[in-house]
Amino acid sequence: QKEVEQDPGPLSVPEGAIVSLNCTYSNSAFQYFMWYRQYSRKGPELLMYTYSSGNKEDGRFTAQVDKSSKYISLFIRDSQPSDSATYLCAIKRGGGANSKLTFGKGITLSVRP
């Protein structure tokens, strides 16, 4: 079983839609949860970071973590064409020595004008 599974894509939505992206993970040792955004031919860029269950909001983006279900989500409100990118969930164990990131496969989102 993979340590993190991400809903497959690609995903195409009209401008203004609400987008929901989801990942599940298998090991409760993972304590930190991130969403990275990657534009074509660029490196991943941190979008959201959280370590507790619940919601964290930043503008049009909301990251949600449910540790009891080992489920993480990213919601994008009022999606824009500029949100078209690949979105990757990433998780990390606790403890200073365990700083490597474990990524989901990523989902490519296309927002149609």
Partner: protein, 113 residues
């Protein structure tokens, strides 16, 4: 402030040849990570330096891969001899502290023919 830079952006070599990838982290970042994405798969961790020391090299696939970070500044990743399955995008990331945000470079796309 300059971000993480990687060189070259793209490398095409033949099976059996040697390739050296370079990463320049953000100035002052002690932590440097190498990751790789093989086509169709998720981004996977290769290794982690703290300054010039290898903190974690659990993701290195085999002894054909050699990573160095002399002087704790830039890092090189050498693949010798390259095999077809080494093709993919190699990302470098850096962070100031162990638990801090990892900033990714644009990646080096390696194609082994």
């Amino acid at each position: 402030e300059a971000g993480v830079t990687q060189f070259p952006s793209h490398s095409v070599i033949e099976k059996g040849q040697t390739v050296t990838l370079r990463c320049d982290p953000i100035s002052g970042h002690d932590n440097l990570y190498w990751y790789r994405r093989v086509m169709g798969k998720e981004i996977k961790f290769l290794l982690h330096f703290v300054k010039e020391s290898k903190q974690d090299e659990s993701g290195m696939p085999n002894n054909r891969f050699l990573a160095e970070r002399t002087g704790g500044t830039y890092s090189t990743l050498k693949v010798q001899p390259a095999e077809l399955e080494d093709s993919g995008v190699y990302f470098c990331a850096s962070s100031q502290g162990l638990g801090d945000t990892q900033y990714f470079g644009p990646g080096t796309r390696l194609t082994v023919l």
